[in-house]
Point group: C2
Chain length 549, copies 2
């Protein structure tokens, strides 16, 4: 048994799924979790970053009265804090000093009339015991915190029933020069980090490593509390944990699961870090992302166009896992060039999942649309027309049944613009938009026999012209995906890619198609982020530009 400083302290890690902007609902949830923590005899219950308003609220923060509403909710938390300490993330503000930055009308519009802080509150026995503003505001990737917040002034230490306690927020722990040193030099013996840290593959291990380094460097215990839940493109994976003063892992909360997880700081033994399969975590992330997107937006049914290929099969499997097979309708939309193999495979996928399957032949609608045109479409225009009619029909079915369409595109084809805007791109959500095609195959393995063997093994095709195969139109995925990963995740230049041994002609082709298809990505539905750099809100590339790597 590990010796820690306060054997009496029982901590509740409240890994909750706050709703962005729904302050009343979040307060209700928080009160219920405080009550749960009290019943479990916790001395302290800890909620994530911005638990009161959800993360990320983006420009909702500038809505008149939004900040006041979130700040006002603290009163209710205080009333529920008799006999328990509560750490909770919310907002605090102070007016900007007169004349500051108010001459630009845009800055007035955007709420720069006050300074806003991303704040952790410590509340106990009905009173506010302390507040710590976030010091380090991440401006990169999906985080835009410098757009909204002012950095806090400095690391403080609070007293909770004799325990010197430091609190910091998410990024504050990640940076080398964060508040941890100051807080421990001021005598903190327990550090709490409240986070809203979205999932990507491998991030959980990085979080633990950093916390472990900070804990052992400072000789303190760190409690890391992360939120859980899907929010548009982001999935927060929870996975909160505690590390002891020598860096050992003492407690690990589950991933993707809401709840109050209790640990007695005085009597926890070190545990081994959990074995985490990247592809299992990806699967869980997408499933939770789907479930929360659909349900939080008030829907329950989804429609997936099943082509007989692997991408749509995987989306159907994940949708079924998230919502139940009865909530998913597969739609097979064969044209005259669709093969019998595709039909059999679509039928087989639907059958293995026990989902409804509609078959809607496209020939007649396609032929009418062609006759309507002054000149029948050929080549790419005809391929696109076929894909767009499918999109039309899927959307009509969705409108008829109050369902959402899921787009089935993967990151490789989205990167190359190998898709039809308003065709296979239509949908409310694109569940596997952040998976390269080679990742799609790994996920298919993980999903086991719900993906038929033939679907996994046959050559991928958009099946928009006879005999079409992806690898006739694109570099082989085994070559393409590593190039794209370096391009997107590491911002590799043309020269770097060529120096790394990728063929010059392939690199040039990829760069040209990648940059030329930005206009399509601008109009895609949100995809679920599972990589360090996804298309969407965390990546901003102009449509019009002359950069070619």
């Amino acid at each position: 048994m590990l010796e820690v400083y306060n054997p009496a302290m029982r901590i509740g890690i409240a890994q909750i799924n706050s709703r962005v902007g729904a302050v009343e609902q979040n307060v209700e949830e928080i009160l219920s979790r405080i009550s749960e923590a009290k019943q479990a005899a916790c001395n302290l219950v800890i909620f994530p970053e911005l638990a009161l308003c959800g993360y990320p609220p983006f420009d909702l923060l500038w809505g008149s009265g939004f900040v006041e509403k979130v700040a006002g909710a603290l009163q209710e938390i205080a009333r529920a804090s008799q006999g328990i300490g509560v750490v909770v993330g919310g907002l605090s503000s102070q007016p900007a000093r007169e004349g500051e930055n108010l001459t630009d009308p845009s800055s007035i519009i955007d709420g720069a009339g006050c300074k806003l802080f991303n704040t952790a509150f410590l509340i106990a026995d009905g009173r506010l015991m302390g507040a710590e503003e976030k010091l380090h505001l991440p401006p990169f990737d999906v985080y835009d915190e410098k757009r909204y917040f002012t950095a806090g002034a400095g690391a403080k230490v609070f007293d909770l029933s004799g325990m010197p306690l430091g609190i910091n927020i998410c990024e504050d722990l990640w940076v080398e020069d964060g508040p941890v040193d100051v807080q421990t030099s001021l005598g903190a013996e327990l550090l709490i980090n409240i986070s809203a840290s979205p999932f990507f593959v491998g991030k959980a291990a990085i979080r633990r490593r950093i916390c472990s380094q900070r804990a052992s460097a400072s000789g303190v215990t760190i409690v890391y509390v992360n939120r859980v839940g899907g929010q548009d493109e982001l999935v927060f994976d929870g996975g909160s944990f505690i590390v002891g003063p020598n860096g050992d892992l003492l407690c690990q909360a589950p991933y993707f699961e809401e709840g109050v997880f209790v640990a007695d700081l005085g009597c926890v033994a070190p545990i081994s870090p959990p074995h985490e399969s990247p592809i299992q975590l990806i699967r869980q992330a997408i499933v939770l992302g789907i479930r929360d997107y659909v349900r939080k937006n008030g829907f329950s049914r989804v429609i997936v166009g099943l082509s007989g290929g692997i991408d749509s099969a995987i989306v159907a499997v994940l949708a079924s896992e998230a919502l139940g097979p009865e909530a998913v309708t597969g739609v097979f939309l064969p044209s005259e060039i669709t093969s019998e193999v595709s039909r059999q495979d679509a039928v087989e996928v639907a059958s293995r999942l026990s989902i409804e399957l509609l078959e809607i032949p496209l020939a007649e609608a396609l032929s009418s649309a062609q006759c309507t045109l002054p000149e029948a479409a050929t080549g790419l225009a005809a391929e696109n027309l076929q894909a767009r009619l499918r999109g039309c029909i899927l959307m009509t079915l969705a409108n008829q049944s109050n369902a959402l369409v899921f787009a089935t595109g993967n990151k490789s084809e989205i990167s190359m613009g190998y898709n039809t805007l308003y065709g296979d791109t239509v949908g409310a959500l694109a569940p596997i938009a952040d998976l390269f095609k080679t990742d799609v195959y790994c996920l298919a393995e993980e999903l086991g026999d719900r993906i038929p063997q033939r679907v996994r093994e046959k050559a991928p095709t958009a099946e928009l012209r006879p005999g079409q195969r992806d690898e006739d139109d694109l570099p082989p995925y085994a070559v393409l995906d590593p190039i794209l990963r370096k391009l997107i995740e590491q911002n590799s230049s043309r020269e770097q890619l060529i120096a790394q041994g990728f063929p010059e002609a392939v690199v040039d082709d990829v760069l040209t198609r990648y940059y030329r298809s930005e206009y399509k990505r601008r109009q895609l539905p949100p995809g679920i982020k599972v990589s360090p750099k996804a298309f969407g809100i965390g990546r901003r590339i102009p449509i019009t530009h002359g950069y070619r790597g």
Copy 2:
């Protein structure tokens, strides 16, 4: 004649249209403008903010080698600077100190390995005479400068042939506590502000007012140099100017026009601020935005679905102005419920513009699509199907002729979700997406008799069901638009709107539909920003949220 300090100084204001990311092309343009300024016997030629890489480069800044390429271009400018001073906007960097902010893999990805500055360079006679980094980085609206840049350390004064000169960048002049005071206290007699300031209605007057205040408060002359040109959603309007030490306007360069505009500081008399019609400026902004979007992306032809209504008529007029009538094809797509009046009006618009008009009846394709469905669509699903088939056909025509489709939606309908995603929303660009319907009518007046009288006067309708009229489905635009303007531009809350006298039921209906339709706005083509707050990159509202104002 106004007395100024250096009667010998002739200034060239190089109001150029830099291409984002096309460094070589920008350097070529800058060298040509330097040569032009030399021929005009200028002592100093001034280029806009980030002239070397274009504004806004967004995440292209993080591309490996991007910063080095931009920094390297200074050598070429230096070589061209014999006998002339050059002020030009570019990038400078210095490595982050070791260990700083590199533990988060996202920050590594996003190029946080170095500190990056938005910098103005003063070059003369082949040498770098000085560099001033931007101090105030706007994080709001469409500006994300804190995402990319580190704030400069401080205001300096340079010597150019005996003239003490202060240089600052865009926002530096807007803030009350900017570098102007320091620079004048250090002896600057001439201040230069280089900007990349996008257009919105009324902004030009604000710029002049602020410069005039700063100039008269400090007793210096200010040269304000803005870029020109369309860049995706943004249009930079140029309109550079000079104000003298008592705040008088001394020189005003034209709006929306590239060129080197020359002023002799020693012999300019005060002029009156130009009369600026807001609606004329909007028209010019949209025309330039269209032209640059189409041409910079390598296209020359556009397709506009002409419904016979005012929105599509205006888009056709503006497209014709931007690209010439021979570049525009109108497409009239009547269904069985389209009225003869609509046909006549579409024909009349095309005829007045001398643009090609195609008529493609929708009935057969619509009937085939309906027959294809397990159950024929009715109600909203049928209306949407009709709109989406139109979208399909427009996109096919565009694919067949290498043209771009223009979406014709206005801000009122986009705000309310009163449009069909993948239907009337399809397109590469949405030229009037930032105009409320009431603004659309003003613009129609401005466009004169190219918009037939009946088109201006008839009740607006989506014409997706018999007898449909916008004002049966929406509040009257005279009520709706003021609510939307307050909601979008001033972040007004439900309570504030009601307190301002808008009917509670209308406010609630507007708020519900406004928030519920965010998913559609996420997938819209870029619109051209003409208001202080446009949908698009400068506004980030979650799709999934529980805020209702």
